[in-house]
């Protein structure tokens, strides 16, 4: 279910050369609630790893355990070969960007960024050049004397980043750093963060509940659900090869169509739905091997809506019940007698069919464009 | 003003001045068609309309004692209940009350200074000597707006357990080496304060007021008071003065003999006093102008308080010296030692000088307040 490269064994094993963080059997309980339930992770040096999940999924608790603000109930955390499970937060040497930035409101930008240097060696040790460099890294060096409340949200976010990086930590923890920003600014900063990651090569551990953010920035994503790892892997893998209904639904949208699978003489499988038998397809090696009842996940963008059936596609007929215009594309709701309601997405101009409510249309998809997933 | 009202006011004046008895006043007022609101239908004496008579004194045990000696006999005679208020009728309070037009006291247990200072200012009802008897009081304490009610003294009072040898003079009170501990004196210059200071400085009893009559003499007194200030707590209520001894904060001081007596009796003699160099004065009954129960009721009360038996009763309970010469003879043997009016005690003390205080009270009081605050 999970990417073998991403998960270490629950027992202590030898650290691989490029592993910087290893989490073993991490568990955190609050009374009867298991916020994090036996999570094990291995993070390679220089990675951009995203912990993705809804609120309450345990992603923040994991991050706070790494940072040292949450004392785990069980398990251990190893950073660069050193067990830091019981090391106080201020001795861990990690950089962190907080949700809402947590800039010191009574200090100027320069003093904020100089803080990690100051606490490591007194006021004298604050090297203005290093502060300026760190600020230059995020294009904020011109505002070094401003107070935080005189900065915009995006600027504050950059200062928080500079502050977390000024002492060259090996790992940077980011706790939903972009959640307070508006949509457009968020997109810009996502891009900049990714650039920055490339430039400095520090390991980023990033927490978010925003799937787009996770998909666009990360090298690796760990999807959490109810304190456990649901699936982890590279963004493309997770998107195209979700293991479960949950992941398929969480990353992007999917139509889920129940059916019954049977092996096909050609080595693939066929699925029989309420509307009839689909064309056979080859099964991916990590795909749930369905026999009997199965769930077919079909992404809206893989559906082509036409007036006549397309060659080599699975096709069912239906009636458009509603159309929403999104600028770049349309979302089309189609009621099909065979599969029930189906959502399709089509490019606004290239759609083969003028999406009019009430029109009778064909819903087409290629045999390989669906995936069997576990129903959980 | 209508002539009818004028006639009524004339009647009222005549009645108030005693030229007309109550019955004829009411009849003739009724003939004018005016029935004064305060008068009920039945024919009780006017003052008996008062719901109650408020007598204000200095609180503590004096409340019960006054009730016993004066209040109950008065109620028996007139049917008017008496309430004893222990707030302490200081001159300032009486003035404030009259100026505020909110007089709630009927008879005040004040002092010489009050009678002299407040009377001319129009703050007091004149004493009605047709009800109150001028003969039943030592003549030096009979004034137009007040009359003496009992003798009392400011005496040297001390804790017998605090010292090896009993102090006898004000000079001893100023001797903080030989007689260690806290001192106390009144927070008002009317308490033999300057007199004690001068005697402590060596001025003879007879020369005290002559000396105080000079600026240098007054300066000397204040110098002595300043000298003792670091050791002194100033009492404002009589109960407070007793409290200071009981809690041990004070071992020696100048307080009223009535309160010394209370201390002595409650402590089986741990505290006591000496009459020597005491400051003798009299309390005075004053009636604030416009008192709620009416002047007549107040005068009746004062008259009741003049009864020799009642005065001896108060001496017995509180130690206040009878001021009615008739009463002095009634004092039983065992109470003579506590009666400041008996010659053997009287002669040891210095009597307040009315002349001095009427001339210098404002000045020295002001200076004293500045000194202690």
């Amino acid at each position: 279910m999970t990417d073998p490269a991403m998960t270490g064994p629950a027992t202590t094993g030898p650290a691989t050369a490029d592993e910087i963080v290893r989490i073993e059997g991490l568990t955190k309980t609050y009374g009867a609630v298991r916020a994090v339930d036996d999570v094990s992770l291995s993070i390679p040096r220089g990675a951009f790893l995203t912990l993705l999940g809804a609120s309450g999924s345990g992603k923040t608790t994991i991050l706070m355990s790494i940072a040292g603000f949450v004392q785990p109930s069980a398990g251990r955390i190893v950073v660069a070969g050193r067990d830091i499970t019981h090391v106080p937060a201020n001795k861990r040497g990690l950089g962190m960007v907080f949700q809402g930035y947590a800039l010191f409101p009574h200090m100027s930008v320069g003093d904020n960024v100089g803080f990690p240097l100051r606490v490591r060696g007194g006021k004298r040790a604050v090297d203005r050049d290093r502060v300026a460099q760190a600020l230059a890294l995020v294009q904020m060096d011109h505002l070094i004397d401003r107070m935080p409340d005189a900065l915009s949200g995006g600027q504050q976010q950059r200062v928080a980043l500079a502050r977390a990086l000024v002492f060259n930590p090996a790992i940077l923890l980011l706790d939903e750093p972009l959640s307070a920003l508006d949509k457009k600014l968020r997109a810009d900063l996502q891009w900049e963060l990714k650039e920055l990651h490339h430039k400095i090569g520090t390991t980023f551990i990033y927490v978010t509940h925003d799937q787009d953010e996770a998909l666009s920035m990360s090298d690796n994503i760990v999807i959490l659900r109810d304190g456990r790892i649901e699936q982890s892997g590279a963004p493309g893998t997770l998107y195209h090869r979700p293991a479960s209904r949950f992941v398929a639904d969480f990353l992007g949208k999917s139509n889920f169509i129940p059916g019954t699978a049977a092996p096909d003489p050609s080595g693939g499988i066929t699925v029989t739905t309420r509307g009839g038998q689909l064309l056979s397809k080859a099964l991916a090696d990590d795909e749930a091997a369905p026999a009997g009842p199965c769930l077919m996940a079909l992404r809206p963008e893989n559906i082509t809506v036409t007036h006549t059936p397309l060659e080599g596609h699975n096709t069912v007929e239906g009636t458009i019940t509603g159309v929403s215009f999104f600028g770049a594309d349309h979302q089309i709701m189609i009621e099909t007698p065979a599969l029930g309601p189906v959502t399709a997405r089509s490019h606004a101009l290239r759609g083969a069919v003028a999406p009019d409510t009430g029109a009778r249309v064909c819903v087409n998809w290629r045999p390989g464009d669906w995936r069997a997933v576990a129903d959980r | 003003m209508t002539s009818r009202e004028e006639k009524y006011l004339e009647l009222k004046r005549a009645h108030a001045a005693g030229r007309m008895d109550r019955r004829s006043f009411l009849r003739r007022a009724g003939a004018l068609g005016i029935v004064p609101l305060v008068i009920p239908a039945h024919m009780r004496p006017a003052f008996a309309n008062a719901e109650e008579l408020v007598v204000v004194n200095w609180g503590g045990p004096a409340e019960a004692a006054y009730m016993n000696a004066f209040g109950e006999p008065f109620t028996e005679e007139t049917g008017i209940p008496v309430f004893i208020d222990g707030t302490g009728p200081s001159v300032g309070r009486i003035r404030a009350m009259v100026e505020a037009n909110a007089v709630v006291w009927d008879v005040c247990d004040s002092g010489v200074a009050g009678a002299i200072n407040l009377g001319p200012g129009g703050y007091l009802e004149p004493i009605d000597y047709s009800i109150v008897s001028a003969e039943r009081c030592r003549p030096e304490f009979v004034w137009e707006h007040g009359i003496g009610n009992y003798l009392f003294c400011n005496v040297l009072t001390y804790n017998t357990e605090a010292f090896e040898e009993a102090p006898t003079t004000w000079a001893d009170m100023w001797d903080v080496e030989k007689f260690p501990g806290g001192r106390t004196m009144r927070r008002n210059v009317l308490g033999g304060v300057m007199e004690s200071a001068l005697q402590a400085a060596g001025v003879a009893k007879e020369d005290v007021y002559d000396t105080l009559g000079t600026a240098d003499g007054r300066a000397l007194a204040f110098e002595k008071l300043e000298e003792l200030k670091p050791h002194t707590l100033y009492w404002s209520s009589a109960s407070e003065s007793q409290q200071l001894y009981r809690t041990g904060e004070v071992t020696i001081g100048n307080i009223w003999h009535t309160r010394s007596r209370g201390l002595r009796n409650d402590s089986n003699g741990q505290f006591t006093w000496t009459w020597n160099q005491g400051q003798l004065t009299a309390g005075a009954w004053l009636v604030p102008r416009g008192n709620p129960a009416g002047a007549e009721a107040a005068m009746r009360f004062i008259a009741v308080a003049q009864e020799p038996e009642n005065q001896v009763l108060l001496l017995e309970v509180m130690g206040n010296g009878p001021i009615n010469p008739e009463a002095a003879a009634l004092v039983p043997e065992e109470l003579r030692a506590d009666d400041p009016g008996q010659p053997e005690n009287y002669d040891l003390m210095l009597a307040d000088s009315e002349a001095f205080y009427s001339e210098y009270y404002d000045e020295v009081q002001e200076r004293y307040l500045e000194l202690i605050s």
Partner: protein, 269 residues
């Protein structure tokens, strides 16, 4: 987040407990003193005695004082709560510079020193003929209590969605109906909390009472004041114990009210 116990924090906690002990010490000390078997202030010498409790509950002057204080406090509370609540609602809804100014003016009785206001009441109450009267004391106390009602009600209103008021008006309710049917039901815990505050304030007020009353009005604080000044007798310790118990109950009630105020006002429709 609070987990780490460092030396500094441990030290601070110890110090804090010491200071809290200093704060409650005077409340605790009156308890044994009130049970003393002597006639003066002291710890019980040979046995515990209820004599001072008996004295308190049988002395008509103490009982009258309680009654008078209660009556005055109730009157002052009624006036202050009535005026203050309406004023706070008005200012909240008007929400302009002028109404902010009004709210600031309403704070005057908190800012003016007690002795100054006592002198002021005394001076003017003479002219108004209110010296030593229930009306006089009730009026004075209601003025002193007014700002506290304005504050608590304003706080309750700050959590209140102004659109509810707009909706009510839009649906045809008059201002009076809006206040009575929409606003008050949602801010009542704040109003009640203000009422408790004024009640206690009035019940406890001494400085103004010393100036504007003399003989007729004998409130409980006045009795205590005289008692402390004159004969420190253990009956005052009894009063102190009863006061402490009552205040304890009131604090609990008030805290519940405040919690409720926040909950009621913040509850989404």
């Amino acid at each position: 987040m609070r987990g780490r116990i460092t030396f500094t924090r441990g030290l601070a906690l110890c110090a804090a407990w010491t200071i809290v002990a200093f704060m409650v010490l005077p409340m605790l000390v009156v308890v044994p003193v009130s049970f003393t078997d002597t006639y003066y202030l002291s710890m019980p010498q040979e046995a515990l005695s209820l004599q001072h409790y008996q004295n308190f509950f049988q002395n008509p002057r103490w009982l009258t004082a309680i009654w008078q204080s209660t009556l005055i406090a109730l009157g002052a509370t009624a006036i202050a709560v009535g005026l203050g609540t309406l004023c706070a609602i008005g200012c909240w809804r008007i929400a302009s510079g002028t109404s902010d100014m009004v709210r600031l003016i309403m704070l005057a009785p908190i800012i003016v020193p007690q002795i100054v206001q006592a002198l002021a009441f005394y001076r003017v109450w003479i002219d108004f003929g209110l010296i030593d009267s229930y009306t006089g004391v009730i009026l004075a106390h209601s003025m002193i209590g007014l700002p506290y009602v304005v504050i608590t009600v304003s706080a309750a209103l700050s959590n209140f969605d102004v659109r509810l008021e707009q909706a009510a008006r839009n649906l045809g309710a008059s201002m009076a109906q809006t206040v009575a049917l929409v606003i008050l039901p949602r801010i009542w815990p704040g109003v009640a909390s203000g009422a408790v505050f004024v009640f206690i304030l009035s019940f406890d007020e001494i400085v103004t009472v010393l100036f504007i009353t003399s003989r007729r009005i004998q409130t409980l604080p006045k009795m205590i004041w005289d008692g402390i000044q004159e004969h420190l007798d253990p009956t005052i310790a009894v009063v102190a114990v009863i006061f402490t118990l009552v205040v304890g109950v009131i604090v609990v009630i008030d805290q519940l009210l405040r919690a409720r105020a926040a909950a009621v006002a913040a509850r989404k429709p």
